[in-house]
Symmetry: C2
Subunit: 292 residues, 2 copies
Amino acid sequence: MKAERYYGIDVGGTSVKIGLFQGETLLEKWSVTTDTSDGGKNIVRDIVKSLPGPAAGAAMAVPGAVLPDGTVNRCVNLGWGVCRPTDEFTALSGIPCRVLNDANAAALAEQRLGGGKGRRSIVMVTLGTGVGAGVVLDGRLLVGARGTAGELGHMCMDPLDSAAACTCGHVGCLETYASATGIVRLAAQAGVTGLDCKQILDGAAAGDAALEAVADRACDLLGRGIASCCALLDPEAVVLGGGVAQAGEYLRKKVQDAFDRYAFHACLGTEVLLATLGSDAGICGAALYAMD
Amino acid sequence: MKAERYYGIDVGGTSVKIGLFQGETLLEKWSVTTDTSDGGKNIVRDIVKSLPGPAAGAAMAVPGAVLPDGTVNRCVNLGWGVCRPTDEFTALSGIPCRVLNDANAAALAEQRLGGGKGRRSIVMVTLGTGVGAGVVLDGRLLVGARGTAGELGHMCMDPLDSAAACTCGHVGCLETYASATGIVRLAAQAGVTGLDCKQILDGAAAGDAALEAVADRACDLLGRGIASCCALLDPEAVVLGGGVAQAGEYLRKKVQDAFDRYAFHACLGTEVLLATLGSDAGICGAALYAMD
């Protein structure tokens, strides 16, 4: 454990969360509003203005692809194109800064300090508006040659399901079934409208048969996708996070059961776990990345 | 490049291939018959007897899972259960020895010296009786928590295709479509019997419409599986090897086209390449692993 201080910065489309860490201890956290005007050109300056003082290092988690050399390749929600926000951060603050994808930051945090603590290799699946994943292998993030590793949501589950049109342009991607949006879509297909994802999963957990069938379908596909992912990567555990995973043990058990139905025999025993760090995962993961 | 000498040993069910390397140069190679009697207990002794002299190190590529600690977890074709053949090798020869899975050895060799040369991250797909893969990320092999990473052949493509029963106990695994066995099965489904995989692909390449439809189906599924794999791992390139890949450019182009149809947009540009080392890939990869 290092005693120096580090900033972990989670840059979201609405607000930027910032944490000051000493080793793995969060000393304080705050946030600043994300100013997406003018192509997001004020965001880094606003972050630096809010910092209480110097630090040994910092890292920014951003909602977009980050190339292995630290170039950010578009963050639509921030207004950023291809850019190097860390160069500006360091020029303004004098603090060395790294950058990583936000799903990867969450994965690193959950592996070191959260639901995956004690495992060296995990896949962290974030179930939100879409389905993303961060992959930590032997304690290190998998970034990918183009910075896009972990796109579990775009695993094709059924290339013929034209009702499952994905924002990426293909059909049958895992996120068209297992994201919050996908679960609402599956419910609509089953004739249930007017409920959001949380209401659907709450109703399913309370025993509504039609809603439980929707939850079963989403979890079956998610478990099958995770089984294919584990056949390839053979991690110790899979950690479920994001808004949909707030359905907790009800969801976790259904996904574990589906995984066990589809898993390659050598991967049986891989645990499906729940994330535990909630909305602090981004700042924690960024701080850990800064310390690495 | 190291100047010391290393043995690269590829332990197959019929014969053991052995190469003596100086750096990356193969000085000589030979083979010994694999004696699978008595649970394969003579195999290591026979290998050591054949060695012409001392070396700085050695590695064995074996047809089974290898745990991260170097324990071999069953090689059905050799008669081996859970064992540590490297301990016996070193005791008999005085030469330090490592062990790795044979598909992983081929992947390492193709990444460093073969079809994937110049790329730091590749997925090497071996199309033989089954479908296996070896994953090299940032120049290092992905072994997996249980030593079973790279089981691309057991990615589930269609959980409802009961005609596609896999040896693993599930249905719809990629290898039930894209292995030599799978291609023969698809041909039989289309009413074509009595041809082996090579004859089917040769006929398809020569313009036989029924056989070309079989090749198209196999390559469509393979390209789709590889696209899902690349969405997760984002390698620089995919290398096709094994007996089926001897169909060469005809197969490669069909797989590249299918990949391009299914790939997540950020992964477009990933090249599908052919392996170049042939049957020397195992000894080369083992020698490289010994030097690492």
